[in-house]
Symmetry: C2
């Protein structure tokens, strides 16, 4: 019964409207949906959560700077106009397999949804490079649940330090693995928490004694940025008292801390009870399903190799976009270049895949994807950031410090979903800026819910 | 080691300072701490969470109206001045037993903390009247974890209704058990969500077809209010399309719905996939420990009977306050009256117990508790509330509807902890009022955190 019903989502309005299924409502899937909804097609958008997440600010939730609702908007609300136009159906569900031959996706409850065109945009998850046993000691940061888990760990570490003197320094040591933008943001913000937010709130510890380590395997942080900006970022991190260890390959993680192999010399252990994983990403598990169904090629990180037009080899009806795809950008002239895994590229791929589907529906040829790079931007902490912007006439401009931080602030608020969230984030940040306070310092143990069932009293129901 | 260290919290500054241990940082514990901190004592405040929760607005988090940080403030932050004065230590921990003879409390990690004076303020939890098997079908609302669980259930019920036509009406039926202030608030707000927030966001269902049932065993809702206000509340709920079933005793709850026994006639089932428990409260489990340690008497709901001065019979050094206590109010003249389980009474008991400890330290006699009742206030939904206020000269004033709602709004914002939260809540409510939107519609599955560990790719660490 479910099957017939949910198939009817895609079929009831189907003939003659082409059925487009879009899996994942991140930056790529959302843009693709918005673009395609202008055409007369029947779109089914499937996501395993009910909200679009503004991932660039997820670290702010993990560090108690923002509440979850400030960076997540209900998918149904964002897209309600498209739904009222009768072209879009939104489904809360998880796609577990893709049947390319039958042209259908399979949900975790067994329901099959057929498609004429498919866009897979399920993004990336963190990768432990085959050492999944590290996951429990060094959680990554991809979902709101991850952010809550990390927020609990960080805040509770200071509580443990206050309680247990013998482990004090270990509880007050925090290691961030991976010197990319996320790792740099996490390390900078954790240093802020220790030095500004908590410094006057304990009896036995001085939170300013906390150690924040940023561990990077390469010889510099922000490896995708120009060396000049990496240098400035390192300098600004060190001003925030973050210890930056570059050239340190992580070879072990356990409850005690992180074991690293320096460029030369013996491996040694960096003791830290709280470890954050910001090192590796891998394509979402759905990539494997695509490989099985279509023979698509995956790169070492499990991302799907796509054609210049973002479709799968031999399957022009299937597009893969965003972090799940290893795509190349094809400029008017010159060699194709790899597309970076950032939100602007996901959005551009979403629009491009949608446009190519529209072209095929008009019987036109699809076009190769061309990524327009507006520059790079990474924040480090209060008044600290690095930026490289490509301007039409001025060419490439690089700047850092306070101006870069202000620029980062307004770019992120501008791109936030919905005026409401912009307002929330702006007030939260204004407050945090003036008071140094972070207002989302809530530790919630999911277990509590069960714990509240009391021993049965003798009273009888009214 | 832990023991010695944590004991040192209470002992290191001890001689000659008396050691006061306060368990629980709800309204009662917080007020007691603030009052006692003005005296030269060594206070240890223990709570199992890191935040003080503004429970009167918890239903707003459960119904996606407010984000958790808006109604919870870090205990360390609220009390940082008292800590800097060196009179207060805040501990994150759960007290599992009280050793009255040894004058010490025992934490869940086995640590013992000795006291000269003890204030127990661990409040209440929900009670299923001995039918704990109902808990999984009808969760209650006492902690933030409860609120997140309920928010997930309500939002997902509409998603299920959209997906599964055969169960549509059951998924779109919501039952609230218990017609007290919490139940009335929950039912009214759920009706608002169905009729205003979600009505244009689905393809297969009209959320306005949702059924919201309020089930009360007594013959009227808001039983602790004058009948006149109960009648007005019922009228306002029915205007919001809530079906109010009074005189319906609940005799069964399962995955299908609620079985009720009407005043006369046969029992029947009210089908609803989402059921909320707002019926019974019971004293926190620590009451049993007090009973075992001191022979204290518990009432049928597991609340501790206290002396007129809020101390335990035979144990003048132990005070029990707030929802965990069955206290009486002793007016200057006239008979003692029972103290209601509301936040103003918890605050007043906290101040009174603190004052009595100060009196004993000065060698004075303790005084009986006198509860000052400023009136009753319950909100029903948008522009709907009932109020009874006792004014110095005018006497008792009763009003309802829009004025009562405005009054409720400002009273609650006024009593919120901290300017920051007042600002957050005010902007959130202003927004919700003008747009009918609720901005905390985030479904987060704790399981997601685990689910994000990917199949191991072949890449090696940098």
């Amino acid at each position: 019964m479910n099957t017939s019903d949910v198939n009817s989502y895609a079929t009831s309005h189907a003939p003659p409207r082409p059925r487009v299924v879009i899996v994942g409502c991140g930056f790529g899937g959302l843009e693709a949906t918005r673009t395609l909804a202008r055409t007369d097609v029947e779109i089914t958008l499937i996501d395993r959560t009910n909200h679009h997440l503004f991932q660039p600010l997820l670290y702010q939730v993990a560090t108690a700077g923002l509440a979850a609702p400030a960076i997540s908007a209900p998918i149904r609300h964002i897209l309600r106009k498209q739904m009222q136009q009768g072209r879009l159906t939104v489904l809360l569900g998880e796609v577990v397999a893709i049947e390319a031959a039958a042209r259908a996706v399979v949900l975790n409850d067994g329901v099959r949804i057929p498609y004429d065109h498919l866009i897979v945009a399920t993004g990336a998850t963190h990768s432990y490079f085959g050492r999944d046993e590290w996951a429990r000691y060094a959680p990554g940061l991809k979902t709101l649940a991850d952010a809550f888990d990390l927020r609990n760990r960080v805040l509770k570490a200071f509580e443990k330090a206050e309680r247990y003197p013998e482990d004090r320094q270990d509880w007050m040591s925090f290691a961030v693995i991976g010197g990319g933008p996320t790792g740099v943001e996490m390390a900078g913000t954790m240093a802020e928490i220790a030095h500004h937010t908590l410094y006057d709130e304990f009896r036995r510890i001085d939170s300013r004694q906390a150690r924040v380590l940023l561990i990077e395997g390469a010889d510099r942080i922000l490896g995708s940025y120009p060396p000049e900006l990496s240098e400035r970022a390192r300098h600004q991190l060190e001003k925030l008292k973050v210890e930056v260890c570059t050239g340190c390959r992580v070879i072990g993680i356990d409850a005690e801390g992180v074991t690293v192999q320096p460029a030369e010399g013996e491996p040694y252990q960096l003791r830290a009870r709280t470890v954050v994983w910001a090192a590796g990403v891998a394509g979402s598990p759905l990539g494997k399903s695509l490989q099985a169904a279509t023979g698509a090629t995956l790169d070492r990180a499990g991302r799907v190799l796509v054609e210049p037009d973002l479709s799968l080899p031999g399957h022009p009806e299937i597009h893969v976009i965003g972090d799940l795809a290893t795509a190349k950008s094809y400029p008017k002239q010159g060699e194709p270049t790899p597309v970076p895994g950032v939100s602007p590229s996901a959005k551009q791929m979403g629009r491009h895949a949608a446009a190519n589907i529209q072209r095929r529906l008009r019987g036109e040829a699809t076009r190769p994807f061309h990524y327009i790079d507006y520059g790079s931007l990474a924040t480090i902490g209060r008044k600290a950031a690095v930026a490289q912007v490509d301007l039409p006439l001025l060419g490439t401009v690089r700047f850092s410090g306070y101006p870069a931080w202000l620029f980062w602030l307004f770019v992120h608020i501008y791109f936030l979903i919905g005026f409401r969230n912009r307002l929330m984030v702006l007030t939260d940040w204004a407050w945090a800026y003036w008071t140094f306070q972070r207002n989302a310092r809530v530790v919630v143990e999911p277990a509590q819910a069960a714990a509240t069932v009391p021993p049965a009293p003798l009273e009888t129901p009214r």
